[in-house]
């Protein structure tokens, strides 16, 4: 059993979730995910890692409450236990000094882009970070991201903070700031990763996305996380989760991502934020 150290709502429907799992904490890297089971009847769901503390033996993720499993996680209190917390899984994000990197986060990905930005900064890159939300009250970790970024940009759809608009304003934002990234890395909901990939493609900005398909075992056995990358079948749990966003068949991925919506989400749909799933 794995003990919950912290579980608090840091923005409406978004939870910071810290679990005592020393073996996972000792091995976690940016871009990894863990598989969690909320209780003995629960399904196995992947969560991207957002931070870890090797000494304390803890691992932190940010999750959005969308389906019944995340609803159960959202009810956990510090001191409670969960039966499964396994990882770190997936290949880590490649961290190299490439010059200028643009990190993009949205939803739970504002959390999981943090260790990516931190590692890229430590590797000597100029790191610019863009976070996006529907409104300013859905943002979090701006202080942490500011510390590991040369500059933090904010986009909100209602204009309550930063630039008003959608994530596809990124080229405009970068042009105004005079930034041409050598690499773009996106962590966030499928829709956001797709839109960023679509707008960076004509600019030929290499774009890596941290994919988030449905998974079961997460260890290269079941094959449910398959997706088409450059016309080839890939498995997010062992070949990814990072892939070239310009090569992904997004329509297929979005359809697969929604395949269990009726069973998982519809009975619990509350947020109205359908594009986040």
């Amino acid at each position: 059993m794995y003990k919950i150290i912290e579980r608090r709502m840091i923005a409406p429907n978004l939870h910071e979730f810290t679990v005592l799992a020393p073996a996972v904490a000792a091995a976690a890297k940016p871009g990894n995910f863990v598989i969690v089971r909320p209780d003995q009847y629960g399904e196995r769901i992947p969560l991207s890692v957002a931070d870890w503390d090797g000494e304390a033996g803890t691992v932190t993720s940010i999750f959005m409450q969308v389906g019944q499993s995340t609803a159960r996680l959202a009810r956990l209190k510090p001191g409670d236990t969960i039966p499964t917390f396994v990882g770190p899984l997936g290949k880590e994000t490649v961290i190299e000094n490439v010059g200028t990197v643009l990190c993009v986060g949205g939803c739970y990905g504002i959390g999981s882009i943090f260790p990516v930005a931190r590692a890229l900064k430590e590797a000597g890159n100029r790191v610019y970070t863009v976070i996006e939300a529907r409104s300013s009250f859905l943002l979090y970790w701006e202080d942490r991201l500011s510390k590991v970024s040369d500059k933090l940009f904010v986009i909100t759809r209602d204009g309550t903070k930063g630039l008003k608009g959608h994530i596809d304003k990124i080229p405009e934002l970068m042009q105004r700031a005079g930034i041409v990234p050598n690499l773009v890395i996106v962590n966030g909901c499928t829709f956001q990763m797709m839109r960023v990939s679509q707008v960076t493609k004509p600019l030929a900005w290499k774009t890596i996305v941290n994919m988030n398909p449905i998974m079961i075992d997460g260890t290269g056995m079941c094959g449910v996380c398959r997706l088409s990358v450059g016309g080839k079948m890939k498995f997010a749990c062992v070949d990814g989760p990072d892939f070239d966003g310009h090569e992904i068949d997004w329509a297929e991925f979005l359809a697969r991502r929604k395949s269990y919506n009726p069973e998982e989400v519809d009975p619990l749909r509350r947020s109205g934020c359908q594009s986040h799933f």
């Binding site: 396994v86 079961i216 290269g220 079941c222 079948m233 062992v238 359809a255």
Partner: protein, 473 residues
């Protein structure tokens, strides 16, 4: 009493059948289909054994069970000794008695198979194991004194559990690391409840644990810790990390919704207990027209699972003919009894989706059999212009899988085959690295439970020699 010249016993060629759940009942539940021999029938069946002076049956057994020995115990009514005899070489008798392909192994070499009435060795093995469990008197074998040598085992499947059993008895300190949240590997996620109840898997794993084997679940060797990190703590490692990514046909439409690998489909139902959704939270679809592509045991398991999930029509689509079906005859018969329709000599060439990305139809070709190919089976050849389209709302692809990629990807210096498996010396199960052994599906790709256990037995013997410094230089 003893006669000078014993009267020649009349050979009883009536192989005793095992009671099964009726097909009209069993298609509505996930309970075990085969119910096991009652004591009287087991004794009658055992009494048919000729007790050959030079038995051939043992030679067909990958783990070398003393088959005539345990059968004699049944005839004598000494069931406790019988199960002890099996456990000398097989830690998992209740499982092997159920899922071994005996007709290809011990029962094939039984002399009575010439008369088409081999002794039902598997059923008798199962009988003894179940009886022991029912009586609740599980005996612990004699254990050697501690050697102080430490062994790590990757994966609590049939190969890993066999190695653990053998090495703990020989006095070594044994730790198993299992990636999933339950032990048993394919016995847990792959083979359905109706063929191998999970309580039995838990029982046999608990037995090995009771011998002192430490088991950590939720620990993915290669990710949580690498093999090389473990080698700083352990003297030797056995890798039994099992099956990996499912194979697909590489035809259009395989990523449509409603198209599943057998691994996914069966894992949802077996490991995650999706058949009890919503009590268990992992959902599984309950489509009405299901096609299962493939002809092996996994295909049969998938088709029979679809029947139990309430499908109106389940088709097993296989490109060769009935005679080439790789599944056990017994499983194919069970599937047919349960209403699975066999579309033989049929090759899917395209999966067609609706506008929302869900599978709607499958286009197939009819096949005919040509000359034998490299596998010795007659090669299926497409019949030109025989294309036809059938409506399905789910397709399960059960054509095999590659070995799990995680250990090969994260363990430098390990020789890997073209197909992605770890290369071992078949006589020792040792890999290209001197303190790493491997066996089961990680070496063979998709094979059987008993061949994994056979690998485990070979590895354990070789590891023991290494650990006790008895190796020839």
């Amino acid at each position: 009493m003893a006669e000078e010249k014993p009267e020649k016993k009349k050979i009883d060629l009536k192989r005793r059948s095992m009671p099964k759940q009726n097909e009209w009942e069993r298609i509505k539940n996930f309970d075990e289909v085969a119910l096991g021999y009652p004591i009287q029938v087991a004794v009658e069946e055992a009494a048919r054994c000729l007790q050959c002076k030079k038995p051939l049956c043992n030679q067909g057994c990958p783990v070398g069970i003393d088959i005539p020995g345990f059968i004699k115990c049944i005839v004598d009514g000494d069931f406790g000794s019988g199960v002890r005899k099996i456990k000398e070489t097989n830690a998992l008798p209740a499982i092997c008695g159920r899922v071994c392909p005996q007709e290809e192994q011990c029962e094939k070499t039984c002399v009575l198979s010439k008369k088409e009435a081999p002794i039902a060795i598997g059923r008798l093995e199962r009988f003894l194991a179940d009886l022991e469990a029912a009586e609740g008197k599980i005996e612990v074998p004699k254990m050697a004194s501690k050697t102080g040598r430490k062994v790590a085992i990757v994966g609590a499947g049939p190969a890993g559990v066999t190695v653990a059993n053998d090495l703990i008895i020989l006095g070594h300190d044994v730790t198993i690391y299992e990636a999933l949240h339950e032990c048993g590997g394919v016995l847990m996620y792959g083979i359905p409840e109706f063929r191998l109840p999970k309580a039995i898997v838990n029982r046999e794993v608990d037995y090995v644990r009771s011998l002192g084997v430490k088991i950590y679940t939720d620990f993915v060797v290669g990710k949580t810790r690498t093999v090389d990190a473990l080698l700083k703590e352990f003297d030797a490692i056995f890798v039994g990390s099992g099956a990996g990514l499912p194979w697909f046909m590489e035809i259009p439409g395989e990523n449509l919704n409603g198209v599943y690998s057998a691994n996914e489909y069966l894992t949802r139902v077996n490991l995650m207990k999706g058949f009890r959704f919503p009590e268990f939270k992992t959902p599984v679809k309950r489509p009405s027209r299901v096609a299962v592509v493939g002809g092996g045991n996994v295909a049969m398991d998938s088709a029979r699972t679809a029947v139990r999930l309430g499908a109106d029509e389940v088709h097993l689509v296989y490109r060769r003919s009935r005679t080439e079906l790789p599944a056990r005859a017994e499983e194919a018969e069970n599937a047919e009894e349960e209403g699975v329709i066999f579309d033989l000599l049929t090759l899917p060439i395209r999966l067609i989706g609706d506008e929302r990305g869900w599978i709607k139809q499958m286009e197939c070709l009819k096949m005919e059999l040509g000359e034998p190919d490299s596998s010795g089976r007659r090669k299926p050849i497409p019949v030109e212009g025989s294309n036809f389209i059938v409506a399905f709302d789910a397709v399960v692809i059960a054509i095999g899988n590659s070995p799990n990629p995680l250990i090969p990807m994260t363990t430098p210096g390990l020789e890997i085959s073209k197909k992605g498996g770890i290369v071992t010396n078949p006589d020792t199960a040792r890999t290209s690295r001197p303190n790493i052994w491997a066996g089961g599906d990680i070496v063979r790709g998709a094979a059987t439970v008993i061949s994994a256990m056979g690998d485990g037995r070979i590895a354990a013997a070789s590891m023991h020699k290494f650990l006790t410094n008895q190796e020839q230089p």
